[in-house]
C-alpha cells in the first residue's frame, strides 16, 4: 500500500510539524508502509531550501499555491493525486492537519482519524489509537475504507530531526493559478502575540485557578523568574485574562517537557495535564489533598502555594536562568 506525507510549508511551525511527523513515522516504520513520498505545499514567500531540508521521505512533490487556504490545498491535492492509488496519508498534528485529514478522507470516500497516538497494522487491517473521555481512556479504531487519513496527536512523540537528503527526488507542481477559496471572500493574517518557547525549558512553574487574582498570578510569575524558571498558566487563568494566552500550558497551548514542573494552584484537569505530562518530575502544590494534581505529581505539598513558593524562593539561588 502506498503511503504519503502531507506537509504545509506555509506555516511558521513547518519544521516542528515535519520533525514531529518524522518521529511519528519512526515509531511506525517497523510495521512497514512507511511513506516514501511527501506532498509539500508552499507559497512564493517561503524559503525552498529550508523546506527541502525538512522532508522526511526520499521523494517530495513540491506544490506551489497562491495562498494557504484549506479549500485551495484540497483542490491542489485533488489535482496532484487525481490518478494516484495512495492508500495511506499522514497529515501533521494540530488543527490544520486534522482539518485537512478529515476533509480529504471525505472527498476520497476513505476514512480518517485525528489526534492519533499510535498506528498499527494487524490481521484486521489498520488500527489507530487515540485518547478519549478526557484522556482517561485509549480507544482503538479499525479503519475500514481506503485511503486512510491519519493526523497524529500534538506532542504524542518527540520531534525527530530530519537529515537533509542529498539525493532527494523533487517533482514540482505550480498550481498558483488554482483559485478555490470556497466561501472565503477576503482575509488577512494577524500574527498572534509571540508565543514563548515554553516547550524546552528546564524548570517550569505553572499557576492555575487557585491563584485567585491577576496580582497573584503576576507575583508568581515574578517569583518564577527570580528562581530562573519560566512561567506558564492553565486555561482558567488565561480565560480570566490574568495573563496572556502565549503562556498557556495544555492541549490548546504548549505541551511542555521540562526537567521539573511545579504546578501551583492547579487542579490537574485532563486538558491541562496533557501539557505537563511529559515533564521528568512534577511537583504539585495545592490546598486540596484530593485534587487530581496530587496523584498525578511525583511529590505534592498540601498547603497554600504562596507561602510555600515564598519559602522556596528564599532557598533557591539559580546559577543561570533555567529558561
Amino acid at each position: 500500500m502506498k503511503a504519503k506525507c502531507i506537509l504545509n510549508g506555509c506555516v511558521a511551525t513547518f519544521q516542528a510539524q515535519a520533525e514531529e511527523l518524522n518521529g511519528f513515522l519512526d515509531g511506525f516504520s517497523g510495521i512497514g508502509n512507511r511513506p516514501d513520498s511527501t506532498i509539500l505545499f508552499y507559497t512564493d514567500k517561503e524559503d525552498r531550501g529550508v523546506l527541502l531540508g525538512c522532508v522526511p521521505t526520499d521523494c517530495v512533490e513540491l506544490v506551489r499555491v497562491a495562498c494557504y487556504q484549506p479549500e485551495t490545498i484540497l483542490a491542489a491535492l485533488q489535482h496532484v493525486e487525481d490518478k494516484a492509488d495512495t492508500g495511506l496519508y499522514f497529515f501533521p498534528s494540530g488543527f490544520s492537519g486534522a482539518d485537512l485529514a478529515v476533509r480529504w478522507a471525505f472527498r476520497r470516500k476513505g476514512s480518517s482519524l485525528v489526534q492519533v497516538e499510535q498506528v498499527v497494522f494487524d490481521t484486521h487491517g489498520l488500527i489507530a489509537k487515540k485518547k478519549a473521555y478526557a484522556d482517561h481512556v485509549l480507544a482503538s479504531f479499525r479503519l475500514d475504507r481506503k485511503p486512510f487519513c491519519i493526523a497524529p496527536a500534538k506532542g504524542c512523540v518527540e520531534r525527530l530531526p530530519i537529515k537533509g537528503r542529498t539525493n532527494l527526488q523533487i517533482i514540482e507542481h505550480d498550481l498558483t493559478g488554482l483559485k478555490k477559496d470556497g466561501f472565503v471572500r477576503d482575509y488577512q493574517w494577524s500574527p498572534a502575540e509571540q508565543a514563548r518557547d515554553l516547550e524546552n525549558v528546564k524548570l517550569l512553574i505553572v499557576g492555575g485557578r487557585g491563584l485567585g487574582t491577576r496580582e497573584n498570578v503576576h507575583q508568581l510569575r515574578d517569583m518564577a523568574h527570580a528562581m530562573g524558571a519560566e512561567f506558564g498558566i492553565s486555561r482558567p487563568v488565561a480565560l480570566n485574562a490574568w495573563e496572556g494566552m502565549h503562556r498557556l500550558i495544555g492541549v490548546s497551548g504548549t505541551l511542555a517537557r521540562p526537567e521539573v514542573c511545579i504546578a501551583a494552584g492547579v487542579s490537574g484537569a485532563a486538558a491541562f495535564y496533557a501539557g505537563i505530562e511529559k515533564s521528568k518530575f512534577i511537583i504539585g502544590i495545592n490546598t486540596d489533598s484530593q485534587a487530581r494534581i496530587v496523584k498525578a505529581a511525583d511529590v505534592a505539598v498540601i498547603d497554600d502555594y504562596k507561602a510555600v513558593m515564598e519559602e522556596l524562593l528564599k532557598i533557591i539561588q539559580p546559577t543561570e536562568p533555567a529558561r
Partner: protein
C-alpha cells in the same frame, strides 16, 4: 432552518442571539435528521478501550509549616534534580 457550520476544533452548537430569537422565535422549526444529508456510513469501528493511568508517586511532603515543607521539598527533591541539570550550584 438553522445549519450550524464551524471550522474550528470545537463542536459547540452556536446559540441563537437575542436578535435571532426575536426575529425567528415565532416561526415553525423544521427539524431534519442526519439521514437527510446523505452522509456516508461509518468508516471506522471502535475495537477496544483501555484505561490510561496518569498517576505518579503522589508522595505528600510532611511538615509543620510552609517553611518546613519548602525545605524538605528543596533538599530531598528539587536540589538533586536541579543540580544534576546544572540549574543550580
Amino acid at each position: 432552518m438553522v445549519i450550524s457550520v464551524g471550522d474550528a476544533p470545537c463542536s459547540y452548537l452556536r446559540k441563537p442571539t437575542l436578535r435571532d430569537r426575536l426575529n425567528y422565535g415565532k416561526k415553525t422549526i423544521e427539524v431534519l435528521s442526519a439521514h437527510a444529508f446523505d452522509l456516508p456510513a461509518e468508516t471506522e469501528a471502535l475495537t477496544e478501550l483501555s484505561i490510561l493511568r496518569h498517576e505518579r508517586a503522589g508522595k505528600i511532603i510532611e511538615g509543620e509549616s510552609p517553611a518546613e515543607k519548602a525545605a524538605v521539598l528543596y533538599e530531598a527533591y528539587l536540589k538533586p534534580v536541579l543540580r544534576e541539570k546544572k540549574v543550580l550550584h
